[in-house]
Symmetry: D2
Subunit: 494 residues, 4 copies
Amino acid sequence: MRTSDEYFSDLKKMKPNLYIGGEKVGRDNPRIRPGVNVISTTFDLAKQPEWKCLLTTKSLSGREVNRFTQPPQNPHDLLQKQKMIRLLAQRVGGCVQRCMGYDALIALSIATKEVDEKYDTEYHQRFIKYLEYYQEHDLAAACAQTDMKGDRVKRPSEQPDPDAYVHIVDVREDGIIVRGAKISITMAAYADEIIVVPTRALREQDKDYAVAFAIRADWDGVRLITRPVQVREREVIKAPFPEYGVSDSVVVFDDTFIPKERVFMCKEWDFGRRLALLFADSHRHSYSGCKPAVSDILCGATALVAEANNIEGVAHVRQKLSEFAGGAELSYAAGIASAIYGEKTSSGTFFPNPVYTNVGRRLMGETIYHEFNILIEIAGGLSVTLPFEAEFYGEETKKDMDKYIVRNPNISAEDSHRIWRFIENIGASSMSHWYAIAGVHGGGSPIMETITLNVEYDYESKKNIAKYLAGINKELNQSKDLGIEPTFGSSLLD
Amino acid sequence: MRTSDEYFSDLKKMKPNLYIGGEKVGRDNPRIRPGVNVISTTFDLAKQPEWKCLLTTKSLSGREVNRFTQPPQNPHDLLQKQKMIRLLAQRVGGCVQRCMGYDALIALSIATKEVDEKYDTEYHQRFIKYLEYYQEHDLAAACAQTDMKGDRVKRPSEQPDPDAYVHIVDVREDGIIVRGAKISITMAAYADEIIVVPTRALREQDKDYAVAFAIRADWDGVRLITRPVQVREREVIKAPFPEYGVSDSVVVFDDTFIPKERVFMCKEWDFGRRLALLFADSHRHSYSGCKPAVSDILCGATALVAEANNIEGVAHVRQKLSEFAGGAELSYAAGIASAIYGEKTSSGTFFPNPVYTNVGRRLMGETIYHEFNILIEIAGGLSVTLPFEAEFYGEETKKDMDKYIVRNPNISAEDSHRIWRFIENIGASSMSHWYAIAGVHGGGSPIMETITLNVEYDYESKKNIAKYLAGINKELNQSKDLGIEPTFGSSLLD
Amino acid sequence: MRTSDEYFSDLKKMKPNLYIGGEKVGRDNPRIRPGVNVISTTFDLAKQPEWKCLLTTKSLSGREVNRFTQPPQNPHDLLQKQKMIRLLAQRVGGCVQRCMGYDALIALSIATKEVDEKYDTEYHQRFIKYLEYYQEHDLAAACAQTDMKGDRVKRPSEQPDPDAYVHIVDVREDGIIVRGAKISITMAAYADEIIVVPTRALREQDKDYAVAFAIRADWDGVRLITRPVQVREREVIKAPFPEYGVSDSVVVFDDTFIPKERVFMCKEWDFGRRLALLFADSHRHSYSGCKPAVSDILCGATALVAEANNIEGVAHVRQKLSEFAGGAELSYAAGIASAIYGEKTSSGTFFPNPVYTNVGRRLMGETIYHEFNILIEIAGGLSVTLPFEAEFYGEETKKDMDKYIVRNPNISAEDSHRIWRFIENIGASSMSHWYAIAGVHGGGSPIMETITLNVEYDYESKKNIAKYLAGINKELNQSKDLGIEPTFGSSLLD
Amino acid sequence: MRTSDEYFSDLKKMKPNLYIGGEKVGRDNPRIRPGVNVISTTFDLAKQPEWKCLLTTKSLSGREVNRFTQPPQNPHDLLQKQKMIRLLAQRVGGCVQRCMGYDALIALSIATKEVDEKYDTEYHQRFIKYLEYYQEHDLAAACAQTDMKGDRVKRPSEQPDPDAYVHIVDVREDGIIVRGAKISITMAAYADEIIVVPTRALREQDKDYAVAFAIRADWDGVRLITRPVQVREREVIKAPFPEYGVSDSVVVFDDTFIPKERVFMCKEWDFGRRLALLFADSHRHSYSGCKPAVSDILCGATALVAEANNIEGVAHVRQKLSEFAGGAELSYAAGIASAIYGEKTSSGTFFPNPVYTNVGRRLMGETIYHEFNILIEIAGGLSVTLPFEAEFYGEETKKDMDKYIVRNPNISAEDSHRIWRFIENIGASSMSHWYAIAGVHGGGSPIMETITLNVEYDYESKKNIAKYLAGINKELNQSKDLGIEPTFGSSLLD
C-alpha cells in the first residue's frame, strides 16, 4: 500500500492537463492541494494500528489492500465501509472523495459479470485484471458519471448536440474513440485514474452512449477544467479544517482513444440503467457514512458555539442539538439496514439493499439545509460579520477584538476567535455551500431517490394489505403478499 | 401454547370488574370483543406453518413458546420480534397490543437482575419463576406504566394527593398493599395479567413509588374503568378492519394486596428510572415493528383510493406515496440498527441500542399526523361525507349510490363502496384518532425521546471533532474520542 | 330579517326529501339539529347590538339586511365579512356554513354581469331580482359545486357516465332539465335554497355542463342523501360545543326542472372556469375568517389543557402555542391583504385579490393537521382514552373519576372533566376529523391553490428581476416589469 | 435632496476610521464600494418620476424629503414604505440597508415622546430638531443596536466585563461619555451617521445601559472594524448583481463623548425594552418589504435556471416555484395587515401592529434556508462546480465551455453562462450566506419573534373561547373577550 507521500509524488509526475483560472497547470498547483490532503488521509490512516481494521481488508487473492480498492463480500464489509467513511469524513471535515472510485469499482464488478452472463462477453475477466492492477498500485480513482445532459427532456440520441452525453464515436480493433464531457467531477484533478460510467437508462437508439471505461487522469485527449473550493487561508490561527477542500472538474473527452483492456461496457444499452443505478445506489450507501459525519461536525460546531454563547443548557438549544442526532443516526441506521438486508450478487460482491439506501440518502438531502439553518440560528449573525483575521492582530484593533470576542468567560480570546472562525468556515463559506449542495445532489438528489423508490418499493404488497382489511381480498396468508421474509437473518443468531 | 378459543374461554371465567358506559360487565361484553380479536391473532398465527418461525421461539429451558413470552437473547431475536410485530399489525390494522406485556417482561428480566446485583435481593429468581408460569400458561399481559401524575411539575412525593402515582401503602410479611391508578392502559380489559412498573425517575423521598409487580387482571381490589374504541359496525359489507379495535382502562388499585412472589421491585428507588426506561426503550423498539405497519396500511389505503380516483400515476401522488416508504423504512431501519448495535445485559437478555430506538420512535411520532394528512389529501372530502351504509341499500337511494360512488370504471360499485368505507374507517373514525394519538404518545412522545437522546447521545464526541477541526484540540487519534468502534460487528462476517 | 325561530319554522314546513340511516325524514329530524343550531346563530347575532355592525349591512336599495345576503362593495365590506366569519366560527366551534351561499351570490353577481357583457344575455337582471327576493326573505342557501366527477383524468363530456357532472339534458321554453349529483354539500339538509355552480373549466364540447341555478332545497326531483356529523351527546355536563355540528349531502338531480328565472348560466362554456373560480376564490377568502377561528379554538383548547396539566409555562409549550398565533394571523393577514388589494368588478361587487386569498388558504390547508398534532401533543393520550361520561357518574366509579381526573389542584373535578371532554370532542371525535378534512379540502385543497397560483402569480416579473441582476436584461425601469404599483392605496391616506 | 454623487462625495470627506484587512482606510476604499452602490440607489430612484411617489414624501413642515427620513403618519405611509423597500431590494439584489436608520428614527420619534410624558424631559424636542437637520441634509444613518452581549445568560450589570453592553461611563454638563461595542452593524462603514439604541429590556441596576444617541460615523473615539461581503468580481460578463454588496462593522466606542443635543435617552431604564422593541418591530415591518423581494429574486433565479435546464413545465418545478409565491406574499400580507391594523402613537407616528409584523418576520426567518434549498434543488450541482470565468475565455478551454454550458438550445452560450454565474452568485457565494443569515437573524431571529408573540398575543381571549365551548364560562358576549373589534376599519369604506 502506498504512503501519502508516494501518492503525491505519483501525482506530480503526471502530465499537466488541468485548467484553473486561465492557466494550464500541473498537480503541484497549490489550489488543488486541499483536495490532495483529503485523499492523503486515506493512505495515512491505513497505516495507523487504531484504524487498520477499518481502512484495510483482504483482496480476493488474500493480499492486504486498502479497503477503497476491494468490493464488499458480506454484510460486515458494508458496515466497515460505512464506518470507515464516517471516520474519515469527521477527520477531513466532510467529503472523503475516494469512495467515488470505490463505488465505481463495486458497480463494475457486478455489471461486468451480468453483461457477460447475458452476452457471453469477457468484461468481467478484463475488470478483474484491472482491479488487481488497481489494488497492486493502491490507486485512487474519480468516477465520472454526470454528463452535461443538454436539453433535460430529451434522451441522448435525441439531443441537438450529440456530444451532450459522452459516447462512442468509433470502435477499433484495439479500443474505442469517445467524445463528450462529464461535469461536476469531484477529485478528478488529483485522481490517478478516471472511471467513466453511464448516467441514465438508455434505449436501443442510444446504444453509442452505453459506455464504461477507466483511464489515467492525464491521458491524451483528456482535459480537466477545474474549479477548486476551499476556505480562506489563515495567517496565524492555523487549523485542520482550512487545510482540506475539494476540486470539481469538467472532464472533456476530445475524441479520446480508450484501449480495449480498459473498456467495460461497449454498446450494451440494456445494461445502461443497471450500471448507472449500481453506481448510484452504492454511492448512496457511501453517503450513509459521510452524511452522518457531516451532521456530527455540524452538531459539534453548534454545541461548541452554544458553549461559546453560554447557552448550551437552554431548552430550545437542547432540542435543536437533538435534531442532529436524529439526522445522523437515522441515515446511519438506513446504511446498517441496507447492509443487513443486502444481497449477494452473481459476481460475489455483496450489494446494499436499495430501498434502505434510498430512504436514507433522501432524508439527508431533505435535511441538510435545515441543519445548516440550526447551526446559524444558534451561532447568530457573527458567523458572517466576523472581522477578518488581520483585524485580530492589527496594531490598533487587536485590543478591541481580544476584548469583545469573548462571550463565555471560561473560553480564552484565542479559542473564542478559533470557534467563530471555524463557524464562519463551516457555516458561511463557499466550502459550506459546497457541502450543502453536495448534501442535496451528491449521489442523486431527493427527487432521484423518490424516482428510484417508485421503482424499487413494493407498493403492491401495501395495497394487498389495504384490500384485505377493506374486505376486497379475502386472504392474506402468503409472506410474499406482505413483503415480509420470515426466515431472513438467521446468520445473526448470536 | 393456547389456542385463541382457550384464551377467550379463560377470559370469560374471570370475575367481572370492568366498568363501561355506566355498567359493570364481564369479559364477554361485546364492546371489548374487537380487542379480544386482536390478541387472538397472536395465538392463531403461532399455529400457522408460514409464520411459526416468527411467532414462536425456544424458552431458556428449551420449550417451544410463543415469542411474546420469551425475552430476546441475541440480535436475531430482536429482528424477529420486529418482523413479528409488523406482520401482526398489518393484519389487525394497527396496534398488536400484546407487545406491552412482552416489553414489561423484557424490562423486568434485566432490572430484577441488576437490583439483585446491587442489593443482594432475590427478585430475579422470583421473576424467572413467574416467567416460567407465564410461558407455561401462554399468558397475555397488559403493562400498566403511566400514572395519573397529578401536578406535572411536582414529583410523586410532593403531590397534593399522594395517590397521584401508584405507591406502596404497607409492607407485610406475605406481600404489599398498593394504592393509586394507572391510566390509558391499553388491553387491560382483556389481558390475563397486569404488570405494573414505575413511570419515572425517583428520588429517595419517593421510595414508596418504586414498585413493580404482576397480578391477575380480575384480582381483588382492582377496578378497570374501560373505554372501548372501534369503528362503526357494518350491516352488509363485512370486512376484517371493523372487527378489530382496542380498549383502554383506568386501572384503579384500591388498597390492593399483592402477594410477595408477585412483587419485583419494592422501594429500590434508585432503579426507578432504569426500570421505567428499560420498559420505554423496549417498547420504542416494538414501535419499530408496528409503526412501519401503520405506514404500510396508510400507504396501501392511499394507493387504493388513488386508484379509485384514477389518479395513481399523477406526479404529486407518486411523490406522496413515496413519503410512506420513507416513514416506514426509516423507522424500520432504526429498529434493525438498534438490534445490530444492541447489548447483552447481565441477565442474558439482549437489549436494543437506545439511540436508534429513540431516533426511530421520534421520527414516527413526528410524522404520523402528516401521514394521515397525505391519505386525506389524496382521498378527498368524501372520506368524511360518505353517506351511511344504510343509504347504499335503501330502497330510494341504492340506485343513486351505486351510480355515483363509482369513479374508476374498472372498480365495481361494491368495491368502490368498500374502499371509501375503509378510508372513512382508517382515516376519519375514532379508531383513526386512536392510531394518530398512539402514534404520537405510545411508548413516549417525541419530547420524551428528545429528553432520552439528550441523555444517551454522545454530544461530547461531536464537540471533540469540532474542536479538532477548529484547531483547539490538537489530536483526534482515539476511537473513543469519536464514538466509533472500529472492530464492532465481526459476527456479521458473512 | 328573520329570527332563528322563523328560520327553523320555515324549515319544518319543507317537504321531506332527506335520507339518513335508511329513512326518509323531514327537517325536524334531530340528527340535523346541530347544523340548524349553527345557522341559527347567524340570525341571532344579527339582533345583538354588539355585533350588529358585523352581521348586518345595507342592501343596494338601502334596506338593512343580513350581511350574508349582500355582496361586498368595497374593501371595508370584505374586512367586515372576514371578521363576522371569525366571530361566528369562534362561537359555533368551527364551520359557519352560511358563507357558502353567500360566496355563491358574490360569484353570480359578477359572472352574470360578465356573461351579459359578452353575450348580451339577461342573467344579471334575473340574478338581481333573485337577490332582492333572497334578501327580503333573509334566506340561507347551500352552494352545490363539487360534482361526483367520475374518472378524474377525463373531462365531463368524455366520461363513461355522462351524469358524472351535473348537466343540462333539455332546454325548454320555461326552463331547463338537469341531471347528475353534487357531493359533499355541506348544509344542504337545512338550507332554504341550493345554488348550483360549475366545478371546473370547460371546453366547447362540455357546454351542457355550463349551468348555474338556484332552487328550493325540497324542490321536486331533488334528493338529499345526508350524512350528519356531531360529537357524542352529553347526559350531564351540557356545553355549547356538542350542540353544534354539520351535515353533508349528496344532492341528486333526477331530471329536475329548473324554471327559467332561476337559471343563471346555460351553456356559456367559456365562463365555466371564471364562475368556478369566482366561487372558489371568494370562498377561500371566507376561509381567511373561519380558519383563524379554528386556530383560535385549537389554541385556546391547547392553552386550557396545558393549564389543566399545569405545564402552561414550559418552554416547548409556549413555543407551540405561538405556532397557532402564526397560523391564525398569517391567514387572517392574507385575508386583509386580499381586501386591501382587491378589485372593483364591472358588477359593482368588490372582489378579493386572488393571490392573497390563495396563499392564505393554502397555508391553512397545509398546517391544519399539524395544529391538531400540537393539541394532542400537549393534551396527551387521555384525549382518546378518557372513560365515558357515564363512568363519571356511575355509583362504583364516580369517586375514582373525581379523584383521578384532577391534575391541576386549582381546577375542580367537574371543570377538569369538562376540559378533557372538550379536548376529546375537539381533538379526537368524528367532528374533529370533519374540521381537519374541511381544513384541507374546503374551498379547494393546497394543490388547487398551487394550480391557481401557477395561473395568477406573476412569475414573469420575477424572471425580469433575475435577468436584470444577471446582466441579461439591461433595463428595469417600468413598474409593470416588477409587479409593483407605486400609487396604489391612496384611499388609505389616513 | 442629495444626489448619489453628493452622498459619495460627502463620504469621502470623512476621517478614515475604518479597519479592513489589517489597514486603516477611508470611505474611498474599493472594498466598501458595493455597499455605497446600494445606498446610492435610494438617492437615484428618488429623482426618477416613476418612483418618486414611493421614494419621497412630505416632512411635517411640508418639505419634500426622501421617505427614508420621515416617520410614517398613517397606514398609507406604511404601505408605501413596504413597497419602496421591496422595489429597492429587487433592484440591488437584496438588502436595502438604509431602512435601519429609518427605523431608528421611527422608534426614537415615539420613545422620546413617551419618556417626556413620564419624566417631563425634553428628548422629543431635541429629536425633532435632529430630524429636521437629518431631513435637510438628506442623511443616511446606520442603526447600532446589537451589543457584544458577553455572557448571554447574564444581564448587562451582571457581566464580568461591564463593557459587554454599550453604557454611560460619565454624565457631563455638555454631554455623556460612552464605552462598549456594537457588533454586526451593517452599513456603518458608509453611513453619514450612526444611531445607537439599547438592545434589550433593562432593570434599575442596568440604568447606565439605557442610552440612545446619534453621532457622525467618523466621530472622535469611534472605530469601525469592518468586514465587507461581496461576490467575486467579474472580468468580462459585467452585471448589476456583483456591483452590490454590504459591509458590517464592529463599532467601538472608546470613552466617546456624545454632545447633549445628540442624546435621546440617558438612564431611563424602564424605557429600555420599549425603545428596543420599537426599533425591532419597526425593522421587522421593513422586512415585510425586503424579504418578499429576496423571495422574488430567488423565485426569478429558480424560474430562470429551470428554463436554462429546460424543465420549467415539470410538475415538481411548478410546485416549488409556487412556494416562493407563498413565502413572498404571506410575509408581504403580514406587512399590509400590520399597516391596516396599526396604531397612531402619541408622537403622531403611525406604528405597525406588532402581532402581524412578528408572525410575518418569523415566517421569513423560518423559510429562508428552505428557499435557497429550492433554488439549489432546481439548479443542480453546477451552481458550485461552475469553472471560473477565466476558463470561459481561455484559449484552450473557451470552445469547450461554450459548447458544454448550453442546455436549452434557445439560450445562447453567453446567456447560459450569465445565468449559471448569477446562480453561483445568488445561491453559492458568501453573499448568499449573508442573505440567508440576515434572513434568519436580521431584525430578530424566529425565537425573538416567538418571545415577542408570547408577550403581545392575546392568548387569554383564545382560552375564553375554549372555556365557553367547553361549558366552563357561560357567556361570550363581549367583543373584548374575543379579540375582535367590530367597528374597526371604517376608514376603508371605499
